[in-house]
Symmetry: C2
Subunit: 339 residues, 2 copies
């Protein structure tokens, strides 16, 4: 039997679980639906059952000689009653500290302690979704070796993981990183948050699609289509994409002037645009910074697995191995869809 | 003889020195002109001579029973050759790390090591001007007990000390905290830095004075006069002051959304405006934050002495007492002007 952690990324729609050993091998991945409609306690119960299920599964896996810190061939074999589970890393939505799910509007949670998420006798560490993805990019991904950088996933919304002194920083109360709502164009368009000119209202994938759909009278155009149309010279698409780049350059200029990151790692769906995003953004950002260099832009390395891998790191941190991961090479099996 | 540190705040025009003992008593303060016109090495030489002079002076001070960590009555008396100097804390302009003055445009310095600033055999710690003031406000002043806050001195320019996990944070390369140049009104007025709509170009004391002077045709009106005129209903002053508050509310909203400070400490000349600044700014900032509370605004506690007291803390840190200061009560004698 080998040692492993359960890594769980709990979203509003589904939760993605994984078993990860001490050398970073992802032994198994699995998805379950999040029973949000059944109320806050039902979600907690489902998480408990999912962790127990994954642990049982992990304990049936064949033993392999471990290359890592523990569970190696020289370690005495465990009795059959012992589990290989050493820790749980759990990403939960909303405001979160390492030991409490403080507030999650979409799940109805308030101050749920980490220990409530499992009936097993094992340490649990909680993490914020974007910040835990940032931790993974820091330890395993595009930010490896860069203790001070920005991880910016641009998807339906825009939030930031600010990596400061080698760790994700969430602010004084866990509300930090809300870069999507900084007022980059304060005389501009209204945001769903009630404010004017937020970065997110111009530059999220959802906003790029929405702004084009409205202007062009073509409902439900997606951001990646807008990027293609802009490349082909569609004037409305060019304008919408240009606004997104402009808003991003303003937001990244403010971030850079304040926090002086060594590097900006772009992730999320919109980063799939590649050079169509990074080339004009790099140029615009450099122009906005007159007395200092712009930090380089780099694509995220871990894609959709950043959260799960970050949760695995949290699980190993909970198990008393805070520096694990730096020697891992990452190899993630494809996750089957929610059954 | 008692133990003391030399604290030195080196500005472009003058340098302010002090002797501070282990319980925070400011034993002596003194100013010298910064011989900037004589070149980079002349300034370093003047600093060396000033430190030696202050040390000699400190060694002639009468011994008093110390209340603190060392040098107390039970400590064996030093021989006459020994000095009471245990460390030097030195604030230098520009980009700085704790052991190197990396770059100071106004003094012509590049990569000057800390040890170059004294011929005495004593540890030296360097600090950035605003961040060292922030350290003092954190340990001794308005941010006492708040490990995550913003110290914002608003003077001729605007820079920030971002206090993160109890320490001033300067970014990956020491260029952090340039809040004065975040583009708060990107379609607005040109800033001296070459960029458009920087916070500083609307809201620094210099800009408030300049913008009123130009609009009203009354050259050299100072910011405090603009505040008085605005209070009396002068429409141009009202507009200029309103623009400053608007720009500050945008900058502080961006800072709050990103860094989630527990508190914002306002310092510098413009903070002397008191409620004329804080009342409308508090209201505007709250309006700009739709899904979270605004952090409270608080005036700085240490005024012009923040830098010197921070330098004293750095000197004691250099001497191996990183946690000194938390029990100090501050009492600063008036500094005589440059002779």
């Amino acid at each position: 039997m080998r040692s492993f952690v359960v890594a769980l990324d709990v979203g509003g729609t589904s939760m993605k679980g994984a078993l990860v050993d001490q050398v970073g091998t992802v032994l198994h991945t699995e998805r379950r639906a999040t029973p949000r409609a059944h109320g806050p306690e039902a979600v907690v119960k489902t998480i408990r059952a999912f962790i127990t299920h994954l642990t049982r599964l992990g304990d049936t896996l064949p033993a392999t000689p471990a290359r890592g810190v523990q569970g190696g061939p020289n370690r005495p074999a465990r009795s059959q009653e012992q589990s290989g589970l050493v820790g749980v890393g759990l990403i939960v939505p909303g405001i979160v500290t390492s030991d409490t799910a403080v507030y999650a509007a979409n799940l109805g949670w308030r101050d749920v302690p980490a220990a409530d998420f499992t009936t097993l006798d094992v340490p649990v560490m909680l993490g914020h979704d974007v910040r835990t993805g940032g931790l993974a990019e820091c330890v395993l991904g595009a930010g490896r070796g860069s203790p001070d950088f920005l991880f910016l996933p641009i998807g339906t919304g825009i939030a930031a993981a600010m990596i400061i002194n080698g760790e994700p920083y969430g602010g004084a109360t866990g509300w930090g990183g809300e870069v999507g709502h900084i007022p980059v164009l304060p005389t501009g368009e209204a945001c769903a948050c009630g404010q004017i000119g937020c970065l997110e209202t111009y530059a999220s994938a959802a906003s790029v699609g929405r702004r084009y759909s409205i202007r062009a009278g073509r409902p439900d155009t997606r951001a990646e289509q807008v990027v293609s149309l802009a490349r082909a010279g569609d004037p409305i698409a060019v304008e919408v994409w240009n606004d997104a780049i402009e808003a991003l350059s303003l937001g990244l200029a403010s971030y850079t002037l304040l926090l002086d990151p060594i590097l900006i790692v772009l992730g999320g769906g919109l980063a799939e645009a590649g050079p169509a995003l990074t080339d004009p953004l790099r140029e615009r950002l450099a122009k906005r910074l007159t007395f200092r260099e712009a930090p380089p832009l780099r694509p995220a390395a871990l894609g959709v697995n950043a959260g799960m891998l970050g949760a695995a790191l949290l699980g190993w941190q909970a198990a008393g191995h805070p520096d694990i991961g730096h020697t891992w090479t990452v190899n993630v099996p494809e996750t089957p869809p929610v059954p």
